[in-house]
């Protein structure tokens, strides 16, 4: 069942079109990995869905359980994890996560005990007890990604947008954060759209993959359909090879340098 639908989503910055007529559906409980080279429009796609940039076209979410009731996206529908979150000085982890309740609060309202309860649960779930009082600007990379994720979860949205969530992390922490998101997706039925740089990881976690190039959707489908060596090589303008190790797709760039040594 589709949760979210995008129709001819177009984003332009000063006459330059960075996202061109993107149309696709997001199904309930799926992980859609968005791939593409730098400047392909991955971030713009996520920002347009969240309503953070001016855009043309429509983004709609399912309203209730009936098959054809759709409505415009509101702030509580979609939670967003930015690429480079700002960590305010001396703000505690608990306070930072409490900011995730903003969309639920009226203009003059303050956080209720229910809001605080939601935050306690999220902190507990992500095992952030030891950090709750710590200042967010004092956390290490892996810790703060979990805290930013906690803030997004505190919003209690059914759709989660991640903009290159692990680009600053070492492989161990990358897996830690992505596994966590995947667990939550499976247990809570979240739908995830994640812009990802690493193609192997995109294939590993994505139930579907959406490939963008020059602002246009080149392909969308199962990882094995989308991640094909010839198409990747064209889009990334670098020879790529795709192999399968223990049933997982692995994408390896084959720079010209390495090929030269094999030709010798």
């Amino acid at each position: 069942m589709s949760m979210l639908t995008c129709l001819s989503l177009t984003v332009s910055y000063r006459e330059k079109t960075v996202l061109d007529q993107a149309s696709f559906d997001l199904k309930k409980g799926e992980w859609l990995s968005v791939i593409g080279p730098n400047g392909a429009g991955k971030s713009s796609l996520l920002k347009a869905i969240k309503g953070l940039v001016q855009h043309k076209g429509e983004v709609r979410v399912r309203s209730g359980s009936s098959p054809d009731h759709w409505r415009p996206v509101t702030a509580t529908d979609v939670a967003y994890v930015p690429q480079n979150p700002i960590m305010p000085e001396q703000m505690s982890v608990a306070e930072y996560v409490l900011l995730g309740r903003t969309a639920h609060l009226g203009w003059f309202a303050r956080e209720s005990s229910h809001d605080r309860h939601v935050v306690s649960n999220v902190l507990r779930r992500l095992d952030l007890g030891a950090f709750a009082k710590r200042s967010v600007d004092q956390l290490s990379g892996g810790e703060y990604q979990r805290v930013v994720l906690a803030r997004a979860l505190a919003q209690e949205s059914t759709i989660l947008l991640l903009d290159e969530p692990t680009s600053a992390l070492d492989p161990g922490h990358q897996v830690g954060v992505l596994d966590l998101v995947d667990e939550l997706r499976c247990s809570d039925g979240l739908s995830v759209i994640a812009a990802m740089h690493d193609l192997t990881t995109a294939a590993r976690y994505g139930t579907r993959v959406l490939m963008l190039d020059h602002g246009q959707i080149v392909n969308i489908g199962n990882p094995s359909e989308v991640l094909q060596a010839d198409r990747l090589s064209t889009v990334y303008q670098t020879p790529m090879s795709v192999t399968s190790i223990d049933g997982d797709l692995v994408v390896i760039p084959k720079p010209k340098g390495s090929r030269r040594t094999t030709n010798l």
Binding site: P85, E89, A94, A132, K133
Partner: protein, 361 residues
């Protein structure tokens, strides 16, 4: 069913969540006691020697246990009620207003150096007020008098221009201040050219007001400023949650569900109105809006739920204390309060600048 074991970390989670953005009751309590104490000290200090016990007895004569047999003479009573008390109240209102305005500007511009004076807002308000006072330009509207209205227009023009310069210059803390410096220079030049056209006595009158003073006889200025401090202060404090959300930047604030532009507009307008009202009764008093929020940050905490309400109290205390100094340090002569706040403010500015450069803010 098995009961879940309580983890040791669980207490910490509950504690931290309950204390997240909590109202700083202890600091507010201390602030109120401090404000009353400073107020009392201020009414006891002055050029005319008065029996201290008499002053206290007169102030508390409404209590049934305090005798109402006055120790002070009628003329001393009038000094107390028409000079000392209104001056103390005015100092507190101006200090409180400038501190709240400064804290709010720091929040919406995400700039630890923002201050009504440094952003050129005070100069803009001063120019507007000079036009109204000196040339009799009257753009008063409804309950808003000619001087506060002209000051407000000047303040809003200045803050908008500074913010526009900062935005087109990349939005760094430095460009905002440089924009403020440019605006201050422009408005000061405008002020000078207006002053030049005035007669000598008239010009001196306007000038002495410009230097920043809390001299008052009677309650007129307190009555002018009071409603602004109450209403605009209330609006700013009511938006303290918004200021905390804005700390993560506009884009993230928007993604969290806040409308950053609208929040900023309301906060900037209220802070500018507050600055304008303070400037129109007390002239240009520099650095209060910078110093006080930073004192609060150092002593209490750095969330705006703490900074804004506590700054309102500490600001009142701070300026009332400075005013005591201005009356006593070189007594019987008075040092203008604006001079003393600058003496305290300039080192604070340097301190905050160095600190924020180190942190790369």
């Amino acid at each position: 069913m098995e009961t879940q074991p309580v983890m040791p970390a669980d207490d910490e989670i509950v504690f931290a969540t309950q204390n997240a953005f909590a109202t700083p009751w202890a600091a507010l309590g201390v602030g109120i006691i401090g404000l009353v104490g400073v107020g009392l000290l201020s009414t006891l200090t002055g050029a005319a020697g008065m029996n201290r016990f008499g002053v206290i007895q007169s102030l508390f004569s409404w209590l049934p246990t305090v005798g109402d047999d006055p120790i002070l003479s009628p003329s001393q009573q009038s000094v107390l009620y028409q000079i000392r008390l209104p001056r103390t109240a005015l100092g507190m209102l101006v200090g409180s207003s400038l501190a709240m305005a400064g804290a709010s500007y720091q929040g919406v511009f995400r700039n630890p150096l923002a201050d009504p004076y440094l952003l050129g807002v005070s100069a803009g308000a001063g120019f507007g007020a000079t036009l109204a006072l000196g040339l009799g330009v009257d753009i008063g509207w409804g309950p808003f008098g000619a001087v506060p209205t002209a000051a407000f227009v000047g303040a809003v023009v200045a803050v908008t221009a500074s913010a526009a310069i900062a935005r087109s210059g990349g939005g760094s803390p430095a460009t905002l201040l440089l924009g403020g410096v440019a605006m201050a220079a422009l408005f000061s030049a405008g002020q000078t050219s207006v002053l030049q056209r005035l007669s000598e006595t008239h010009a001196r009158e306007v000038l002495s007001w410009l230097f920043g003073q809390l001299n008052t006889s009677g309650w007129t200025q307190v009555i002018i400023l009071g409603p602004y401090t109450l209403v605009c202060g209330w609006v700013l404090i009511a938006h303290r949650r918004h200021l905390d959300v804005l700390r993560v930047g506009d884009e993230e604030a928007k993604s969290l569900g806040l409308d950053p532009e609208r929040s900023r507009l309301i906060i900037v307008v209220s802070a500018s109105l507050l600055t304008a009202a303070a400037v129109s009764v007390s002239g240009l008093i520099a650095f209060v809006g910078l110093v006080v929020p930073h004192i609060v940050r150092l002593l209490v905490g750095s969330g705006y739920r703490v900074i804004l309400p506590v700054s309102a109290l500490v600001g009142g205390m701070f300026l009332a204390l400075i005013d005591i100094g201005s009356r006593t340090i070189m007594a019987p002569a008075e040092i203008p309060v604006g001079v003393l706040t600058a003496l305290v403010g300039a080192p604070t500015f340097a301190f905050v600048l160095v600190r924020s450069q180190k942190r790369g803010v």
